[in-house]
């Protein structure tokens, strides 16, 4: 692989790694001060266990060979046989993809906040990764869903819709927090949330533009689209808030930005012009209203993983059916399969239909298997902390740590 490409993939991999701590702070700041360390730990844990799992079996099962329909082989377990004779391109790509594998389960942590046993989480993450992330990834990238014509540039379906619906399944098994929805708590540290948001946006340039797997025009377009969609969505969210609730809030701006980033993820390298702005605006408005669903339907998705990642991912992925620009279906793609153009570029509704199917399939699998994993954990070691621990706070109860020791009292 050309040096420039290898360099860009390596940088992107580092950027995506940075997103997991970014997510940790984004969620942690929204959480209660007595649970912030538990939230950070749930996220950091993902980037501890998944890299190992990824090189052991995750990469090979999810990606080799590219055109395997349902599941890869074990041929490259422990990356056997993969060297650096291609100037490091393969290893860089494996590292890059490993970062995605790490952050996907981390997304679910925001939904299960304040009440999940860490021992259950510790088992959930690798098991979910193997049984849900790996197959869905395979189907979307090279597998049967891809072969039918659906496209997902950086993981709108494979990561965000996947984790979003899994979060829903998880909270249905876990149950509501004590006192929810009557007792609520505001974010304990909005500054932490904003730091996390900034890190996420910064890292997302690697997430999206890096998915071009090359330093080329598609990567540059994906970069610009990421920039625009986040801005448009953040703007949309605070405008809706301002008119509906009376004030624009930092949390609204942050949530909008993330919603836009999620929505552009499946589309980043496939759209151009004003498309990213439209995608951002629509996602911003949709998610701003979607986060209210949980109160209406009665599921305690603590930090709105469903409202932002599931809904944002679906919005972006379906809009690909309209905005996919054949300008990008060039030599940078692998496999040589012909892609479908979006409706606004002369295509039929076929792409839109395939996008809907791909997301539908991913949602059914992810929801079903996640629910099963959670139920298995519930019946064996239990998934929920005791009522007393929930009240004391998980930092002390699960980790024997306190986040904030006040001033001179040490």
């Amino acid at each position: 692989m050309e040096s420039g490409n290898v360099a860009w993939i390596l940088v992107s991999a580092a950027l995506v790694l940075f997103m997991t701590p970014g997510l940790a702070f984004f969620y942690g700041g929204m959480d209660r001060s007595r649970n912030v360390l538990n939230m950070l730990m749930m996220n950091f844990y993902c980037v501890l266990v998944i890299p190992v799992l990824w090189v052991l079996v995750g990469y090979t099962l999810s990606s080799e060979p590219f055109d395997a329909d349902f599941l890869g082989s074990f041929d490259f377990a422990m990356l056997s046989g993969i060297g650096i004779d291609d100037n490091g391109g393969k290893i860089a790509t494996i590292a890059f993809l490993g970062m995605f594998a790490a952050i996907t389960p981390a997304l679910i942590s925001g939904a299960v906040a304040d009440r999940m046993k860490f021992s259950a989480w510790a088992i959930f993450v690798p098991v979910w990764s193997l049984l849900v992330y790996v197959p869905v990834f395979k189907w979307v990238f090279g597998g049967w869903l891809f072969q039918r014509g659906s496209i997902d540039f950086a993981g709108g379906t494979a990561i965000h819709v996947n984790a979003g619906i899994a979060a829903l399944a998880a909270v249905l098994v876990l149950g509501k927090r004590r006192g929810w929805p009557h007792e609520g708590h505001p974010p304990h540290s909005m500054p932490l949330v904003m730091i996390g948001t900034g890190i996420l946006w910064f890292g997302w340039f690697g997430f999206n533009a890096g998915s071009a797997l090359g330093a080329n025009g598609q990567a540059a377009q994906a970069f610009l689209n990421t920039f625009l969609a986040a801005a448009a969505a953040g703007l949309a969210w605070i405008v809706v808030e301002w008119r509906r609730d009376g004030h624009p809030t930092n949390l609204g701006a942050a949530s909008g930005i993330v919603a836009g980033l999620v929505a552009i993820t499946p589309a980043a390298g496939f759209v151009s012009g004003a498309a990213p702005i439209w995608i951002g605006l629509i996602a911003g408005v949709a998610c701003c209203y979607a986060v209210r669903l949980k109160t209406r339907l009665g599921y305690d998705d603590a930090l709105d993983v469903v409202g932002v990642h599931l809904v944002g991912g679906l919005v972006g992925s379906l809009l690909v059916g309209f905005f996919a620009n054949p300008l990008f279906f060039g030599p940078t793609d692998e496999g040589g399969l012909k892609f479908l153009e979006g409706i606004f570029y002369g295509g039929s509704a076929k792409l839109l239909g395939e996008q809907a199917l791909a997301n539908g399939v991913a949602m059914v699998w992810s929801f079903g298997v996640t629910f099963a994993i959670m139920m298995a954990l519930k019946k064996t070691i239990g998934v929920r902390v005791s009522a007393e621990d929930e009240a004391t706070g998980l930092d002390l109860a699960q980790h024997s740590e306190t986040a904030y020791h006040s001033g001179g009292l040490g």
């Binding site: 708590h185 505001p186 509906r244 609730d245 809030t249 609204g252 709105d304």
Partner: protein
């Protein structure tokens, strides 16, 4: 000897401190507290959901005083801390059994 305790609005702390300094009262202890009286809390909005925050941040000021000085000090604090709007706070006076200055061992009025 008396202990004067005042709960005041945080932004009034500087005014109160300067007023007491100006009257040659050089010692005080300040704590950040939360509370409410007739002033209710406030509402914060996050992602469209409103949270009613009952407790309002205040500052608690404690000053030691001789019997004779109490009224003067209380009046100074009240005038400096008053904004005229709800939530200005309260001042109360309690009796002290004993006081000792740690460095010198002085007790009683000499320790104030």
């Amino acid at each position: 000897m008396k202990l004067i305790t005042a709960i005041i609005k945080p932004f009034k702390l500087d005014d109160v401190k300067e007023a007491l300094r100006g009257a040659s009262i050089d010692g005080m202890t300040v704590t950040e507290v939360r509370g409410f009286g007739r002033q209710g809390g406030h509402t914060e909005t996050y992602r469209g959901t409103e949270y009613q925050i009952d407790f309002v941040p205040k500052v608690k000021l404690e000053v030691l005083s001789d019997e004779g000085d109490v009224d003067r000090i209380v009046a100074l604090i009240a005038d400096a801390a008053r904004s005229g709007k709800i939530g200005d706070g309260k001042i109360w006076v309690s009796a002290l059994d004993s006081v000792i200055r740690i460095r010198t061992g002085e007790t009683g009025t000499d320790a104030i």
